[in-house]
């Protein structure tokens, strides 16, 4: 009985399945007919229409590339604009013997083999009908030479293009950045429609951070062309929207002063407008000329930049990591007062070295023989190391870490430039995670004088100084003021988001100590107090590049230049109503007071001088 049932069931299944096969086949036939109907519609009914579009008088959709926004400094001086440039371009499709043509051009215009190679590489990547540049930014002479013989070079033509130009070259290279040819990786990540027709994209600096604003919106034109693909009529077009102009907070004249003041040293200067957070100076020396990068820098020139021991491509202000040295002392001092670890008047004795209990190691003061008995003000003024060893020991690394964090140490300053380094503010936790070691008391001591693991970038140092001058209200640095005009104001004073309470008596005693650094006869930076009718507050710093052995003596003249100490200086002015904060790092500069402080002095005097005249 059950067997019969199974067979019957099998038969039912079979029939059902065959029915489904037939149904599926009918569906397939119907859908295929649908496709054929559509093809008939396109290829017979619409043929003439589409054939016209495709061939004889074809409508070509041409992207209209928007003009890139111009970058100005705070006074409207041009930092990046677009200049007309003429380039010699070849359309491979229209040239019969390309090697012969290249050979003749090379002789006529004296073109280097490298450029020919570059052209050949680029040509292989592109379609044969795309106009490919051989020479960019031709001289008048070259243009004239070619114009005469042009009829003998079918498929070769001079094209006018807008080329990005940086008038201040190396002076602002690290802030403004540069644009370069879009590479393959960028091609994939950029929105295709927006960059159809664009050849360049911001690579670093403001050009990169504000790429979207600067680029603008691509338009297009539907162009009717004849058989020779010559445009004969524009049918319809959507005009491109040019990129926005950017006004930076940067003062290029002040930048030049700072850059020149660095002289032959490598280093960085950052100045911040304390009231707004606007960055006035963002100098990294040496800079480099960004202009060759726009047209495609020659390989050997690039290699030279890369291998130069001064590292001109390295943005020291943003990415340079330095021990802050004694410039950390005002912050540590303030921590001592805020945590009631010490009073401003309490004196500590400095014999010239400090010893941890039961440890023979001598933590030395920079001044042999010591500073004697000093209070907080004297310790900051004379930069007494032993005082801060003791204070650090009293505070402990945990309290130092959390206090310094408030000033932005160990985290990105938030400036609107990509690639910022966050520095290093060490803690027990950090050491355990990164090194799998516990924290040693000796490391607390050297952190107290800004050595050891502690590392800061110049922009961080400037931000911390501005925040200190602002009595603890956090100043967040930024570069782009606005995109409309130089007169309208950008993010005004409001950017002090997360504040923390500091007792005014504490901050005032630290500031008065910092004034002494410049205005007291014992001050380590007293050299810059001349010719001013206001007071500057500051702190010098000298950061060790390498460790001196216990029994050795540091002698500047004996050691290799590259191992000499870095000179640092932080400052703000006027001390009673701070407007500008300046941080200076001079690599291998030696002493903060004699080398770094005068640079800050020049920047402050020029800035406040100009402000006072107004």
């Amino acid at each position: 009985m059950s067997r019969i049932y199974t067979i019957k069931n099998k038969l039912v299944e079979s029939r059902l399945f065959l029915n489904r096969i037939i149904a599926a086949f009918i569906v397939i036939l119907l859908l295929t007919s649908g496709l054929i109907v559509r093809l008939v519609y396109l290829q017979i009914v619409g043929h003439e229409h589409y054939a016209t579009l495709a061939k004889d008088n074809s409508i070509k959709i041409e992207p209209l590339v928007p003009t890139r926004g111009i970058i100005y400094d705070r006074h409207g001086k041009v930092l990046a604009d677009n200049t007309q440039s003429f380039s010699l371009e070849l359309i491979p499709e229209q040239i019969k013997d390309i090697d012969d043509t290249l050979h003749r051009l090379q002789q006529l215009l004296n073109i280097s083999d490298e450029k020919i190679d570059q052209f050949q590489k680029q040509r292989k990547r592109q379609k044969r009908f795309v106009s490919t540049p051989l020479l960019i930014s031709m001289t008048d002479e070259e243009i004239a030479k070619f114009a005469v013989v042009r009829p003998y070079f079918p498929g070769v033509d001079i094209q006018a293009r807008l080329v990005r130009h940086y008038p201040y070259a190396d002076l602002a290279s690290h802030v403004v950045g540069y644009v370069g040819r879009i590479n393959e990786a960028e091609m994939k990540s950029l929105p295709i429609a927006e960059y159809r027709g664009s050849t360049h994209v911001g690579k670093i600096g403001i050009e990169n951070t504000y790429e979207t604003e600067l680029h603008g919106k691509t338009g297009y034109a539907e162009i009717e062309t004849n058989v020779q693909a010559r445009a004969i009529n524009t049918v319809n077009s959507v005009t491109p929207i040019p990129g926005e102009n950017l006004y930076l907070t940067l003062d290029i004249d002040l930048q030049k002063t700072a850059y020149d003041a660095l002289g032959d040293f490598n280093g960085a200067v950052v100045a911040i407008d304390i009231k707004t957070g606007g960055v006035l100076v963002f100098a990294s020396r040496p800079g480099f000329d960004p202009n060759p990068f726009v047209i495609g820098i020659a390989n050997d020139a690039y290699q030279a930049l890369q291998s130069s021991e001064n590292q001109p491509l390295y943005n020291r202000a943003l990415r340079g990591l330095y021990p802050p040295g004694s410039t950390i002392k005002p912050f540590i001092g303030l921590a001592g007062l805020e945590y009631n670890a010490i009073s401003a008047e309490h004196k500590l004795f400095c014999p010239g070295y400090y010893q941890l209990p039961n440890v023979s190691h001598h933590y030395r003061d920079w001044k042999k023989g010591g500073h004697g008995s000093v209070n907080m003000t004297e310790a900051i003024t004379q930069s007494c190391d032993v005082y801060f060893y003791s204070l650090a020991s009293i505070l402990g690394i945990d309290r130092m870490h959390s206090f310094l964090q408030h000033f932005g140490f160990g985290e990105k300053s938030g400036i609107d430039l990509a690639g910022e380094k966050q520095g290093l503010l060490p803690s027990r936790e950090w050491k355990r995670n990164q090194r799998n070691q516990s924290w040693y008391p000796g490391e607390t001591l050297i952190t107290g004088i800004g050595q050891g693991y502690l590392q800061v970038t110049p922009i961080q140092l400037a931000k911390a100084t501005a925040t200190l001058a602002n009595k603890g209200k956090i100043v967040t640095p930024f570069l782009v003021k606005n995109t409309a005009s130089p007169d309208s104001l950008g993010p005004e004073a409001d950017n002090h988001q997360d504040n923390f309470e500091l007792k005014s008596e504490n901050i005032n005693s630290i500031i008065s100590a910092m004034i002494n650094v410049i205005h007291d006869p014992h001050g380590t930076a007293k050299g810059i107090n001349k010719d001013i009718n206001y007071q500057i507050a500051g702190k010098t710093g000298t950061a060790q590049v390498f460790n001196i052995k216990q029994d050795a003596k540091y002698n500047e003249n004996d050691i290799d230049f590259k191992l000499r100490d870095h000179a640092l200086f932080i400052s703000f002015a006027p001390a009673d109503d701070p407007k500008i904060a300046v941080a200076v790092v001079v690599e291998n500069g030696g002493h903060g007071g004699s080398v770094a402080a005068p640079i800050a002095g020049q920047v402050i005097k020029q800035f406040l001088g100009a402000t006072n005249e107004n």
């Binding site: 399945f17 489904r20 086949f25 959709i61």
Partner: protein, 377 residues
């Protein structure tokens, strides 16, 4: 059951026929596949800017795919049935692995790097999903009851969602339709199909909500390509111009101006049909469709002659999915379906889809050439 001995008459007792039979190759299907592969090289040569390198690379892949097909044709279909669940489970695990690894990489992650070559689990799941559903349904009598329907739907939805999350909408669609095809051939009632269709139509707004921005773009562009001629609508406008300008007879081989002049993007991959239509015209298109229909018909015939529920369901699903492949690609190129990124089967440049497709045909050949004279139920 009257067809057990019929398969003999399709193999004339020639020397060549004997060899092919030993190889477990189905001649009509083999000839169809060979023809379309040759056609593929002809079009690729033109669409790929006459680059011999492109052809050589494709030839290597096609060779490998044919080899895999032959190997699979040798396997007894009983083995496919036996390992269905295992292979399906493995495929799901690999899909999850790809997703998890994708969390660490950037953007879409579809590959599993096996050192020697890169492997796309979503390709494997295209075959193992219908295998799994067919295996599950074959365990019960047909047509499927509600409970089996529920389980089978789950077996389809899980891989579909995993692939859609990669995100690879085209492949997800193909996997879903391969599973759905099994249900259809298993005798899902027409009333139910109608009900499901109306529910799905109601779900469209919800689906829209979960789509990625670029997927929404594709649908919007499909509805109105002219709105964004530089960006999203560019593909469709250019491919319609290419196809329409081909006319009845086409511009002749290598005569495509649209792809040659770079108006047509992705001319060797997803949009290769536009190049074909421009060069060979309506005649060529109808011919190509006829060739596809021949292959599909042969596959459906194999399905109708297959022994056992599992073999029938799997064979018919593979045949139908192949058609879905063709329909979705051509439909998108001629502007009647949204652009979902499905290649033209056996013709588009690229290796993974060809390997999977020919693996499917290998299974079909195995089903057809391993018949027992007595059903073993």
């Amino acid at each position: 059951m009257k067809t057990e001995t019929r398969s003999e008459q399709f193999h004339p007792p020639s020397v060549m026929g004997n060899i092919l039979r030993k190889l477990h190759i189905d001649i009509p299907l083999f000839i169809g596949l060979l023809l379309i592969s040759i056609l593929s090289f002809v079009i690729l040569y033109s669409a790929g800017s006459q680059d011999m390198d492109v052809l050589m690379r494709q030839a290597a892949r096609v060779g490998l795919a044919f080899l895999l097909m032959t190997v699979l044709a040798h396997v007894d279909p009983y083995q496919f049935k036996r390992y269905s669940a295992l292979l399906f489970g493995l495929g799901i695990l690999l899909l999850i692995a790809v997703l998890v690894m994708g969390q660490f990489g950037k953007g879409a992650q579809r590959w599993l790097d096996l050192g020697v070559f890169r492997f796309q689990p979503s390709e494997m799941i295209k075959i193992t999903t219908p295998m799994m559903v067919a295996w599950y349904l074959a365990e019960h009598s047909l047509p499927p009851r509600p409970k089996q329907l529920l389980v089978a739907s789950l077996l389809i939805i899980v891989p579909t969602l995993l692939i859609a999350k990669q995100p690879d909408l085209g492949t997800a669609l193909l996997v879903a339709s391969s599973g759905a095809a099994v249900l259809f051939f298993a005798g899902l009632s027409w009333r139910f199909i109608l009900a499901i269709s109306s529910v799905l139509a109601g779900l469209t707004p919800i689906l829209w909500h979960f789509m990625r921005p670029y997927q929404r773009d594709r649908v919007l562009t499909f509805l109105n390509p002219e709105a964004d001629p530089l960006g999203r609508g560019y593909h469709i406008i250019q491919s319609k111009i290419a196809i329409g300008s081909g006319g009845i007879y086409g511009k002749g081989w290598l005569g495509s101006t649209q792809s040659e002049l770079d108006f047509l993007p992705e001319s060797s991959t997803d949009f290769i049909f536009a190049v074909f239509a421009e060069e060979f015209g309506l005649f060529g298109c109808v011919g190509l469709l006829a060739l596809y229909l021949l292959i599909i018909s042969r596959c459906l015939y194999i399905a109708s002659q297959a022994q056992g529920t599992y073999s029938r369901l799997l064979a018919s699903s593979l045949a139908f999915t192949f058609f879905v492949y063709v329909f979705v690609n051509i439909g998108m190129v001629i502007g009647v379906l949204p652009v979902v990124g499905v290649p033209l089967p056996l013709v588009s440049y690229g290796g993974t889809s060809i390997v999977t497709l020919l693996a499917g045909f290998g299974i079909l050949m195995s089903i057809h050439t391993h018949k027992k004279f007595l059903p073993h139920s």
